[in-house]
Symmetry: C2
Amino acid sequence: MEELKRRILKEGKNLGNGILKVDSFINHQVDARLMDECGKELARRFRGVGATKVLTAEISGIAPALTTAFHLGIPVVYARKHKPITMPDQVYLTLTPSHTKGRTVELIVSPEYLAGGERVLIIDDFLATGATILGLIRLAEAAGATVVGVGALIEKTFEGGRQALAHLNVPIESLARIRSMEGDTIVFEE
Amino acid sequence: MEELKRRILKEGKNLGNGILKVDSFINHQVDARLMDECGKELARRFRGVGATKVLTAEISGIAPALTTAFHLGIPVVYARKHKPITMPDQVYLTLTPSHTKGRTVELIVSPEYLAGGERVLIIDDFLATGATILGLIRLAEAAGATVVGVGALIEKTFEGGRQALAHLNVPIESLARIRSMEGDTIVFEE
């Protein structure tokens, strides 16, 4: 998606260690109009998979997942990292390493909102190693749901997430695919 | 807003201690279409205040703030509760008591995205005691920005948030105003 790539080139900052800062339009400040366009494009690409629900992880997955769900006309569930008091005692919980936090985090979904038979489209801001997305897939599988696709705004193809998800045999779509980041030079896949 | 009130009556659960569970359409699962409608209505009510930015707090403020910002055509910034590694060392930080967490949490905004002269519209899911919103106001004021309005999806009028914000002399709007919750009976203000 050309507009997203332009913004990454203009405002993205390579902080080293594979961390791309996009806080001015995705991760802290959000460009609401751009996020709507991204959701529209992800919805277009996944229109055929028959998703009944979008699943994402708080915090920065919420914005792209919400706009994608809106354009698909389905609800979105965001996995919590801390169990709120409104959640029942019995939950689906998995552990996943957080690249940017440098530790393991929990991903928690209430069985109330993820049921057997659901067709789940997973959306996140980044596809990097795939660790968070694999965690969301474990939650969906624990609920007896079927994962029907994986979408991300930005993919860092050099971190191998797409390979880690290949066994799922579902469509994987990302709107900007970064092949390399060296110094201030960000190179996209063709 | 009648549709939001109907959903609250149908799906909201009074968990006691003033906690209203709306996890099926706002706080864990999100009804993306309803959230868009709520954002459209909040944008309509605040069209005249000349906001340049929406400010909210992660996590559950993100969805209504994003849709409001979209319909106003301005960006949204969500205050973080944990400083991510992408954020500079020098930040705006305030402490605020969290009703649902039972402890104090941090609210952090990067000076990169909240500047002097900005006209800030604060949006959150709930207006209860106003503690979180007062925290966001302190962040905006620390940045030299002007708060021009406060909006929420759901107000619990019996918790006094509106009075706590009265000194601001800005418009305060909420889409569903709950006067009382006793057992399973939720009563709205006229």
